[in-house]
């Protein structure tokens, strides 16, 4: 599965590559995907086969790792509606596939989920889950629990009515649809089942909106999911409310920017917690919920740990939704803290935005997030630390009245960025989630936008926007190794044992996602689209350009 386990730890116990020998790592194989654009997500390795999903047009490759040169067993080239490219807010990316029961399951950008026979490459089923005409696109990686394939849709910038759906694993039929906003009947809130820690009453996702605003209020699902089998709860985050001009949607706007805990079988909501009520900063909460067992204040707690776009790291009791620790992991000034009694942020009124407030200056972090949900963190049970790619940037936020025109963006804000304190735009950090404390930090010139891999060899891997793939010591953060790959890294490293018994590490190169939008000068393939550099990042195109490569490293 995308994150290696149900707990979304991105930890592998493999230890042949360790802090002592990682500096001998060298590339052993590369493959051009033939596609440009942001290579987010990660390969899967199952039964000596590596599966790679490309950005649009979502080609699925199956490489035979048991043969010299890893030739393809097959490739699957679906017919994907090209309109999806323009309906996706932020580059035509894909976050990867899930392997289960001999099938590779993934989403096509144009609103379809497909199940492909992992041996033959033939389509087992294909289900339309989303509607492009409504502004819905589907880059998210599916998550499978039991006989349910759980999927969601992007479109927080198009005024979608956000949802998750549970598909039947064998047939792909839609078993349930759970909206993130609206009346209890649509949100799958059932009396006696739904027990949020902080909220009381019914129809919370309806009454926290102006009339009908919830129908076009966003609430997309495009991050990573996790599952606790003993509680039978699946966890995922919900994205931003639409539009960005908060004055058009007075109220908390539940359950945007929230973590939801649902029963996978029927989708019913068990608890929910909203990180950023009435969001005026585009702080999607779709970053992964990493499940861990930590000792907090002398007590053993079963928690989920979440690094929000809003700059706070939350440690939450995953059975109840009670917030145990909430501390900033980057520079934060929109809120002074989180009140653990109410669960609500303590706001700085001078950083509240809206069309009537004009241009509000210097809000930290930016809407890219203190950490991007696109770049999932890792947790090592060996060190007890969380490893996080972070952004050190702040923004101005000028909201304007937005008109909802179906099939077009529904935004209403201009939000230029600048580097945060210190001038470095990113950092890679280790975090102690029991106390809410940064243990070490590696400063990076550019925002850090890759996922993370932690290993039993006490090595942590991540990549940079200018194309360095790096290994550092899990305990000290000491840099151990780096290699310059063909394009900036926005994907997630994985490790596996090959048919020869050796340990390998794989990563995609291919700058994109928001960084294609923000640094359009990394493009070279379209003579009719020539852009100036981003004003806050004048030189990234000096070091990288678009690409699409799979890299495998070994000793």
């Amino acid at each position: 599965m995308p994150a290696g386990d149900n707990s979304a730890t991105r930890f592998s116990p493999l230890a042949r590559i360790d802090a002592g020998n990682v500096n001998g790592l060298r590339p052993v194989w590369t493959f051009s995907t033939g596609v440009l654009g942001g290579h987010e997500g990660q390969p899967l390795v199952v039964n000596n086969t590596m599966y790679v999903v490309t950005p649009y047009p979502n080609v699925l490759y199956a490489f035979d790792l048991a043969r010299e040169g890893y030739p393809l067993k097959w490739k699957y080239r679906p017919a994907v509606n090209p309109n999806a490219v323009g309906m996706a807010c932020c580059d035509a990316i894909n976050r990867g596939a899930f392997y289960v029961n001999g099938m590779i399951i993934y989403n096509l950008l144009d609103g379809h989920t497909v199940a492909i026979d992992a041996n033959t490459g033939r389509e087992v089923w294909k289900t339309q889950i989303a509607d492009l005409a409504q502004g819905e696109t589907t880059p998210v990686a599916p998550f499978v629990v039991g006989n349910r394939v759980i999927v969601g849709a992007s479109g927080g910038e198009f005024g979608i009515h956000g949802w998750t759906k549970g598909l039947d694993l064998a047939t792909g039929h839609i078993a349930w649809t759970a909206y993130n906003t609206g009346p209890d009947s649509l949100v799958l809130v059932k009396p006696g089942v739904f027990k949020p820690f902080y909220d009381t009453g019914t129809q919370l996702a309806l009454t926290s909106w102006p009339k009908d605003a919830w129908k076009i209020g966003g609430g997309p699902v495009w991050g990573w999911m996790s599952y606790d089998p003993s509680l039978d709860l699946v966890y995922y985050g919900v994205g931003n409310p639409a539009p960005y001009n908060a004055e058009q949607r007075v109220g908390d706007n539940k359950w945007t920017n929230s973590v939801l805990a649902r029963r996978p079988e029927d989708g019913s909501l068990v608890w929910a917690y909203q990180f950023t009520p009435h969001d005026g900063w585009d702080y999607d909460a779709v970053s992964e919920m990493i499940l861990a067992d930590l000792t907090i204040g002398g007590r053993k707690r079963t928690v989920l740990v979440h690094f929000d776009k809003n700059g706070f790291a939350y440690t939450i009791d995953r059975a109840t939704g009670e917030v145990l620790v909430a501390k900033p992991f980057v520079e934060v000034n929109w809120a002074k803290g989180v009140d653990l009694k109410t669960g609500r942020p303590v706001l700085d009124s001078s950083k509240m935005t809206g069309a009537s407030k004009g241009n509000v200056k210097n809000i930290c972090p930016t809407l890219e997030g203190g950490k991007s949900p696109a770049s999932p963190a890792a947790y090592s049970p060996r060190t007890g630390l969380f490893y996080v790619s972070t952004n050190n940037m702040c923004m101005d936020y000028a909201a304007t009245q937005a008109a909802h025109i179906r099939g077009t963006p529904y935004i209403g804000a201009t939000t230029p960025y600048h580097a945060g304190p210190g001038g470095n735009m990113g950092a890679f950090i280790a975090w102690d989630a029991a106390t809410g404390r940064r243990v070490w930090e590696i400063r990076e010139k550019y925002p850090v936008w890759s996922g993370v891999l932690a290993t039993g060899g006490s090595v942590v891997f991540y990549g940079t926007l200018d194309g360095w793939f790096k290994a550092v010591d899990a305990r000290s953060g000491k840099p151990l190794w780096k290699f310059k790959v063909g394009s900036g890294i926005v994907g997630n490293p994985i490790t596996y044992t090959g048919p020869d018994g050796r340990q390998y590490v794989a990563i995609y190169a291919g700058i994109g996602g928001d960084w294609f939008l923000l640094a359009g000068d990394v493009r070279s393939d379209d003579p009719a689209d020539v852009r100036p550099p981003a004003d806050f990042m004048q030189d990234i195109a000096r070091y990288t350009s678009q690409g699409g490569m799979v890299w495998i490293f070994g000793l």
Binding site: N83, V85, T400, A403, I405, L517, P527, A528, V530
Partner: protein
């Protein structure tokens, strides 16, 4: 009138007039609607098929087709109104503020995927394009689309588009 049969040379004037007639149906609309609201403009008559002179013509012979001209070409006030439409119709959500490119391409670099001629830009907006450019002709009238064309044509490309250099 069979607009498809209008020849290339004589056609432009006639068709410009036709489109102005199309606009007159909406007289009293003054400024195109959609400014800051969801009020939509009723669609006018269908615009003619335009010829793409930059396409390679088989046998060296251009097909019959129209060349239509922007009735507001170079008009600063129309460009200003087009700029307001560019925001209120959510064009900036994809092409970026100032149309310098976002998920959609830059419209401020003096380069055009689907042709730089007035009618080609008009058709891109009216009928949409592959890869997600929505068709606006169902909700915007010809006047509004021409003002959008006027706005994007008014954007001055930077002095040196092809070269990006670092010190």
């Amino acid at each position: 009138m069979d607009i498809r049969a209008v020849g290339a040379t004589a056609g432009s004037v006639v068709l410009a007039a036709l489109l102005v007639v199309g606009c007159r149906q909406h007289e009293g609309a003054r400024t195109p609607a959609v400014t800051g609201s969801t009020e939509l403009i009723r669609a006018g008559a269908a615009p003619p098929a335009v010829r793409h002179d930059e396409h390679v013509a088989a046998g060296g012979v251009q097909p019959p087709g129209a060349i239509i001209t922007n009735p507001y070409q170079g008009d600063a006030r129309s460009a200003k109104q087009g700029e307001a439409l560019f925001s209120s119709m959510n064009c900036d959500g994809c092409h970026g503020g100032g149309a310098t490119g976002w998920v959609g391409p830059s419209l401020a670099d003096g380069r055009w995927r689907y042709g730089a001629a007035d009618g080609e830009i008009f058709q891109s907006i009216w009928y949409g394009r592959p890869h997600g450019m929505p068709a606006y002709g169902g909700i915007a009238n010809t006047e509004a689309v021409w003002k959008l064309v006027t706005y994007v044509q008014s954007l001055q490309p930077p002095e040196d588009v092809p070269t990006e250099a670092w010190k």
